[in-house]
Subunit: 212 residues, 2 copies
């Protein structure tokens, strides 16, 4: 038993070893819709929240009151039904590293931090996440509403004051891992990490070697 | 409206263009557990069922009565809780092509075909899927039960009569697409394909350009 997350260094190593591949920071995020069905989309790893094991993802909460959109600096933007996370606040990351043949499945609860959040600390985190992205990536939150029928030749908003804070559409997701399944295909090795919460709210992790 | 699936040629093109990359046949499959939470794992595309748009995936139904395990020729094998598909027979594929920057999200119902299936035609499909895999990949279904604690130095079963039919553990999954979301990041284009079933049970597809 350990209070630090034993899978975190494994993941940091994989991120580092695969960092020459642009897509190595992309993973797939599964959620459950209000209809009880699964959803799955590619999103971008935005790092760990400082001093924690929580995984950061940037999203766009605009549009049709049903969609959150996940964006990258390159325009990758996938809708997470906001109803998904209201209906079921859990998500599972599946992160496959194509060069080292490693897979991390990371299951946890998701905290959504949008402009309406009442916690000043969380709003600060959201602001930091906004400024951590490029101006180009911020501009996407001013573009046409994702998922709606596309009108050709829509004027693109191409200017944004780089010192301006997050727009309403910008939302930060924080995934707090509870279970991690690590698979190494080259070594044919699999590890199962599970957590239990102690009375003081701290996570304790256990680690088991299981059959791949 | 069209009775043939307009997304299928797009997908076949992407598979073809990316075929020099080993991982281009891997995608992430999301399901919903009996606890209502999402699961997500990497699996291998085993082609379309002949004459249909149904996506084939091979699985291992052994073990702990709770797991189906998805395997590749390289040993990639991830557990789908069999309870997942009993609880909710729907799944969503997220398939990202790392070279062409294209993403397909494919949502549909999953048919599980294991040894206990009562339909002779489906059992024939299962047999064909078994023989379509390499002998090496078939051997995995005789290995240690996936997900159980690993005992070091377990003897590996390394011989199998290549003419022997599917073992009990072998299960074929058929995903029948209902909705497909296509995103092309290089062209910044997104298409939404949806299906409706006509009275004769045939699928009709509609296609819409939507904001990425």
């Amino acid at each position: 038993m350990s209070s630090s997350a034993p899978w975190k260094q494994l993941l940091l190593n994989s991120i580092n070893t695969n960092s020459h591949l642009k897509h190595s920071t992309y993973f797939q995020l599964a959620t459950v819709g209000s209809n009880g069905r699964p959803s799955n989309r590619t999103v971008v790893f935005r790092g760990f929240q400082d001093g924690t094991d929580k995984i950061q993802i940037n999203t766009d909460s605009r549009s049709c009151k049903l969609c959150i959109v996940l964006r990258t600096d390159d325009g990758l933007l996938e809708s997470v039904q906001i109803e998904d996370l209201k209906h079921c606040p859990f998500a599972e990351v599946c992160w496959y590293f194509t060069e080292t043949w490693e897979q991390f499945r990371i299951h946890g609860r998701v905290d959504m931090i949008d402009a309406s959040n009442s916690d000043p600390d969380k709003l600060k985190q959201r602001e930091a996440a906004w400024f951590a992205g490029s101006v180009r990536s911020r501009l996407q939150y001013l573009g046409p509403t994702p998922g709606l029928p596309s009108l050709d030749e829509q004027p693109l908003n191409d200017s944004l004051d780089s010192s301006a804070g997050p727009v309403d559409a910008f939302c930060l997701l924080l995934l707090d891992p509870e279970q991690v399944d690590y698979l190494n295909l080259k070594r044919n090795e699999r590890l199962a990490f599970t957590t239990a919460r102690s009375v003081n709210g701290e996570n304790f992790w256990t680690q088991n070697k299981v059959n791949p």
